[in-house]
Symmetry: C2
Subunit: 334 residues, 2 copies
């Protein structure tokens, strides 16, 4: 049973009783509940587990604390919201290193300050299997501006808010102890110290031109498939429109790999993925002209099903590849 099947089975068992103040339950980046006549509250919970989500051997505790907060707040950004409060539950082995924990806390504090988010609660528990961190983040925004995964329309342009695959490449460089700390600093940072795109997300939500949005946490192939499912549409993505990234190419060459799997299914990008009408291109450009944010149109929403990648080499036999929900390990070169 895969995670999404399991979640569906759990969801079916706990299907929500009608609750007038619940606008969106399980199935989007955040749950959305009514706060008052104009505003909603956003909720998300996430757990990070040692050796699954992070490796303390190469993840400095300050950066790990920052990352734990950032990846949670990225779920608030995914809806276009403003992070407000954070709860933090920390599981520690019996023989935990006090200094390590305090540095981790410094990182949590730094990230909270950065995002203007207040830590309001938490607990510590014994965790014999290694460090675990569960965070629940609470955000807020205008009801009419909330951007859901559903809402995309056929013909919409699909945008991503930055380079793809850098965190996956950085992690692989770290795992293989490839060095190049200066040369590949941006790739290392993408894995060790990602930032949630709160500011851009808020501007996109306020613009009124975005039809559907989410954040990229599990890789474009998987996340876009979720957006397609929720919008009852399909999508095509063009390889030659994926953000060019010379640094990623250099890392791929060093590791003897292709860069495409990183871009398509690397995960942990924490960029925004959103769709707008092709007629809104100009407005979108104006929106980011002042801030310098770079937006990449990578594909188009279709009336089909699933996510299709169009390879850039016209001579390839299998030029169109279905990639929906493909994880990094399953990615086929085609």
């Amino acid at each position: 049973m895969k995670e999404r099947d399991l979640i569906a089975a759990i969801q079916a068992r706990v299907s929500a009783a009608a609750n007038p103040s619940l606008l969106c339950g399980i199935g989007d980046d955040c749950a959305v509940t009514r706060k008052n006549d104009t505003d909603v509250l956003l909720y998300s919970i996430d757990t990070l587990v040692e050796s699954v989500h992070f490796d303390p051997h190469f993840h400095p505790p300050e950066l790990l604390g920052k990352k734990a907060v950032s990846v949670n707040i990225s779920d608030i950004a995914a809806m276009g919201g403003e992070p407000r409060f954070l709860l933090f539950s920390l599981g520690l082995p019996i023989d935990f290193d006090e200094q390590w924990v305090l540095k981790l806390s410094d990182g949590v504090a730094e990230a909270c300050n950065h995002y203007g988010c207040t830590l309001i609660g938490g607990d510590t528990v014994a965790s014999p299997g290694g460090v675990t961190m569960s965070l629940c983040v609470i955000g807020e925004m205008a009801t009419e501006q909330v951007l859901y995964r559903h809402g995309a329309r056929a013909g919409d342009s699909i945008y991503v808010s930055g380079p793809l695959g850098r965190a996956a490449a950085g992690l692989e460089l770290l795992k293989h102890d490839m060095g190049g700390r200066d040369r590949f600093a941006d790739l290392y940072q993408a894995h060790l110290d990602p930032r949630a795109r709160v500011g851009l997300a808020k501007r996109l939500a306020a613009s009124g031109i975005v039809h559907a949005m989410m954040d990229l946490s599990d890789g474009l192939a998987t996340d876009l498939a979720h957006l397609c499912n929720k919008s009852a549409l399909g999508a095509v993505v063009y390889q030659d429109k994926l953000p060019d990234d010379p640094l990623l190419e250099q890392a791929a060459e060093l590791l003897g790999r292709e860069s495409l799997p990183w871009k398509i299914s690397g995960g942990e990008d924490y960029e925004l993925l959103f769709t707008v009408s092709p007629h809104a291109t100009k407005k979108l450009q104006e929106l980011v002209a002042k801030t310098g944010d770079l937006l990449y149109p990578v594909g188009t929403m279709t009336t089909g099903k699933g996510v299709t990648l169009i390879r850039d080499d016209p001579s390839l036999q299998q030029r169109e590849i279905p990639v929906a929900f493909l994880g990094f390990d399953h990615f086929s070169k085609g």
Copy 2:
């Protein structure tokens, strides 16, 4: 470094920036934030770890799912609030048993229905060290009715809302495989399937006569010490006023133990601990007369420091024992 020292150190690092909508941050059963002019939102997060907080060998998954929800909602009850929403993050080993997880989910669903609480979000993660469950519960109540740990007054009577030590006794019977499933059913249930005292807590909060309240999760000795610290007072507890419990005595006899350590520092009672003026006794009795809830006055708030247990045997040399923060393992017979 003990848990409460560690939490204090973490708290110092992330000390909240002034936030006008935050009424209470770290340090009570829930964080309290302003929802609107009349109401607040309550937040609590808790993590349960396999082999630390539960043993799947004798904890049926349905009951474990119920318990995970109940102990979290008990934090909402601790403030006098109404539980509304729940987020649930489930960590599973790679080789998890599907049926076990689905039964766990049934228990979560049943408890949500029981408390009128809606599951609005969650995730599943790989957890090589065993099953973990992190829950964040969101409650709501009238701002003026919130009952904090602070607020107790010297001379207040200290009440508990039910028998003490049953969960600890039940757990010990289970660990020693002592049988007596029928005879000790209430003790087993206290550990396996506790209930949060939401209804009583709401009535107490609405009554206006309670000065301070919390729930009993870590045992009377520890929890009352927290309430004392927050109220800048001390407390005395009288052994002969602790709830009589023939069943607990029978279990103690069977296991060759004293029942007193269970009552004082057993933990997981999930009863309410609260203080009222001694002049409010009659009102308190009227409050529970209709519902049949039993309230036990176990001691008195003092201008001193810490928590002192007065043993019932006047011939004991050391009749007054300081018990603040004493865990079950550290409890001295005196």
